[in-house]
């Protein structure tokens, strides 16, 4: 009787492990935060610290986080202010988070305004970073008014690949022209949505209330 029970337990354990070991998906999250530093939006940059702090408090060991600025031309690694894949050990991950916070603090205290706004370049760079992490859930957080302005020689009419990446536009402030004609604001957001969805993004969202970030980053 006991022997049979033991064998049954062993078989159940084996079945459980074989079922469990079969799950090779990555459960890590990777988040790429783009911070607009152009024109008047540079004043808003300080608010980005709230998002970064929230992400640092929410992300788990093994997750990845990068913060980059949106400049006149943003498709470059040089614009990445800080990036880290947090260690699997919680104590090490906490130490990394502290260092990360210090790095972003330094950047946000000395934000330099850029003449143009290359959001597309930032998205391309972010997608590249996120795909390299191999994370299961990939998110680009765009902290911008979503008003793209490029110089004459910069070419951004290139196909983007945002497959299985969520794009969240945060703190999309209204411009003075939007106040005159709200259609411009909604049109701008709609145009971005179309573009992002056409690029294969899994989701497009706009969150202006920074308190609602948990709806996106809470783990299911």
């Amino acid at each position: 009787m006991t022997k049979r029970l033991f064998l049954l337990c062993l078989a159940l354990l084996g079945a459980g492990f074989s079922a469990g070991c079969g799950d090779s998906r990555s459960h890590a999250q990777a988040v790429y935060v783009l911070i607009d530093t152009s024109g008047t939006y540079a004043q808003e940059a300080a608010k980005a610290q709230v998002i970064i702090n929230y992400l640092l408090g929410t992300l788990q060991p093994g997750d990845s986080l990068a913060v980059a600025r949106v400049e006149s031309r943003s498709f470059t690694e040089k614009d990445i202010v800080a990036k880290a894949t947090f260690d699997a050990r919680p104590s090490q991950a906490n130490a990394q988070k502290r260092a990360f916070r210090e790095a972003t603090d330094r950047f946000l205290k000395n934000v330099k305004q850029s003449r143009y706004t290359d959001i597309t370049g930032g998205l391309l760079q972010g997608a590249e970073f996120l795909n390299e992490t191999g994370a299961g859930t990939k998110t680009i957080v765009v902290f911008s008014d979503m008003q793209e302005e490029l110089d004459k020689i910069t070419i951004r009419q290139v196909p983007m690949n945002l497959k299985r990446i969520r794009v969240v536009a945060v703190n999309v402030v209204k411009l003075s022209t939007d106040n005159i004609d709200p259609r411009r604001y909604f049109g701008r957001l709609e145009a971005w949505q179309k573009r992002v969805v056409a690029a294969g993004a899994s989701e497009w969202r706009v969150i202006n209330d920074l308190e609602r970030l948990d709806a996106i980053f809470s783990r299911t």
Binding site: T2, A19, A28, Q60, R89, P90
Partner: protein
């Protein structure tokens, strides 16, 4: 098509159509009565037969299961009662060895004391010698008549004073003698007390022995009842198994709660050892599985410890090991358990540190800085509590082996009884369904006849008319023949 139903023979006259169709239908049903009856009976038998067969099979199976359960239950009960009697006898033997081995000494002591008391008693019996014979002479002299003689008077007075002296002396001797005897009697007291104490002790030991013997008698009666396979013994064993099952289940539930707390204590710090980013399934982290494995290993070590201590008997191989090997195994299990308990205590401490670190990080990330908490001894109580729990819980979990054994042993009886009850219930259900199928076919046959009641009435009348005609013809024939 004019919209009227297809079965309308005369669309302009629906009543007539329905009437004609009803007549045709009745005729058809009347014509098909016999085969329809047979069909309904066959369907009833087709459904009812297998159901009744299944019910009979289930009744037989339930009976076999009950017999098998009974055999297993009685065998188990016999084994348990035998073991208990064996243990009781061992205990009784130990009591006899411990208490009665001093009996010869006690007996000698008692005899010595009694002999001494007897000697003293004899001494008490020694009385002073009786008054000398001259007392009679004095009495005779006292009866002498003085006759007024002065000399006789004087002699008598002298005799009187001598006698008074002698009397005083004799009285003094008597008093001294009684004093000595009183002293001897007083000297009895400690011996009496000692004898009383010894006898009381003997009584108590004999009483204990008698109680134990009564216990053995009770167990022997139970064993005999089990051997005789009486219904009462079976019932008692079944009830006992159910009680054991319920108690074991309750204790296991409590232990599961303890295991859950244990899991919570070590799941987070285990991520520091095996990493927090690995997942076995969508929601099961490797660190959580590692924590569970540690808890299971602790429970297993506890199981082996209990087996090696011969408290439980789940593994016959361990029970049959020789004493040296068994003792080694016990020590190995104990050392591993203590090590794991130490590891858990360390993990509990690490958990506290990790949580504190995380809290500090979150506090530093918060936009509004919270006031720092005082780092006094009060704040260390949860840490100490966690460490203590981490150390104690593995040992507490080790005792799961005892209710587990009870659960496993009693579940055979409980499961068997419940399964037999289920099979019996199914048998009843199948029997009822079979009967319903058979009765339903009869009901349908009767209903069929109710539907075609008119043709049946016509048939009955026709048959009656024909019978009357036949009887009239027969009567005519008889009359002709008589003429």
């Amino acid at each position: 098509m004019n919209g009227s139903p297809f079965w309308m023979l005369w669309p302009e006259s629906p009543a007539l159509s329905i009437f004609v169709l009803a007549i045709v239908g009745l005729v058809f049903l009347y014509a098909a009565r016999k085969p329809m009856h047979e069909l309904l009976r066959a369907v009833g038998a087709l459904l009812g037969g297998p159901l009744r067969l299944g019910a009979r099979w289930m009744v037989t199976t339930a009976q076999q299961m009950k017999e098998r359960n009974r055999a297993v239950l009685l065998a188990h009960g016999r084994h348990e009662a035998g073991q208990r009697i064996e243990r009781e006898f061992e205990r009784l033997g130990a009591v006899v060895r411990r208490d009665l081995q001093g009996y010869p000494t006690l007996q000698r002591k008692l005899l010595d004391e009694i002999t001494r008391i007897e000697e003293d008693y004899k001494k008490c019996g020694e009385v002073p010698p009786p008054p000398p014979d001259w007392v009679e002479a004095v009495t005779a002299m006292a009866n002498v008549k003085t006759g007024g003689s002065e000399m006789v008077q004087k002699i008598l007075e002298e005799i009187k004073s001598s006698i008074a002296k002698i009397h005083d002396k004799a009285i003094g001797e008597y008093r001294r003698s009684y004093e000595t005897r009183h002293k001897i009697l007083e000297g009895f007291m400690p011996f009496w007390r000692s004898v009383d104490r010894n006898i009381a002790e003997v009584n108590k030991k004999l009483g204990d022995l008698q109680e134990s013997a009564k216990g053995v008698d009770g167990l022997m009666s139970k064993y005999e009842a089990i051997n005789a396979k009486t219904d009462k013994a079976e019932h008692a064993l079944t009830v006992s198994a159910f009680t054991q099952f319920a108690i074991a289940l309750l204790v296991m539930a409590v232990a599961a709660g303890g295991a859950f707390i244990n899991f919570k204590l070590i799941a987070l710090p285990m991520s520091e050892m095996v990493g927090a980013g690995d997942y076995l399934t969508a929601s099961l982290r490797t660190s959580e599985v590692a924590a569970l494995v540690i808890i299971f290993v602790e429970a297993s070590m506890g199981l082996f410890l209990m087996e090696a201590l011969r408290i439980t008997h789940l593994f016959p191989r361990i029970a049959t090991l020789n004493d040296t090997l068994r003792r080694r195994m016990m020590w190995i299990a104990l050392v591993l358990l203590v090590t794991l308990a130490g590891v858990e205590a360390a993990l509990a401490l690490m958990r506290d540190m990790l949580i504190a670190d995380k809290q500090a990080l979150i506090q530093s990330l918060a936009t509004v800085q919270q006031a720092a908490q005082a780092d006094g001894w009060v704040s260390r109580i949860p840490t100490a509590g966690q460490m203590l729990l981490g150390f104690i819980l593995p040992f507490a979990l080790a005792f799961i082996a005892i209710p587990l054994e009870s659960l496993i042993h009693s579940s055979r009886t409980v499961g068997g009884v419940l399964l037999a009850a289920l099979v019996s219930t199914l048998a009843i259900v199948l029997r009822v369904l079979g009967n319903v199928a058979r009765r339903m076919s009869r009901v349908l046959i009767t209903l069929y006849d109710v539907v075609i009641v008119l043709p049946l009435l016509v048939e009955r009348l026709t048959k009656a008319g024909m019978a009357m005609r036949h009887s009239a013809v027969d009567a005519d024939d008889s009359a002709h023949q008589a003429r």
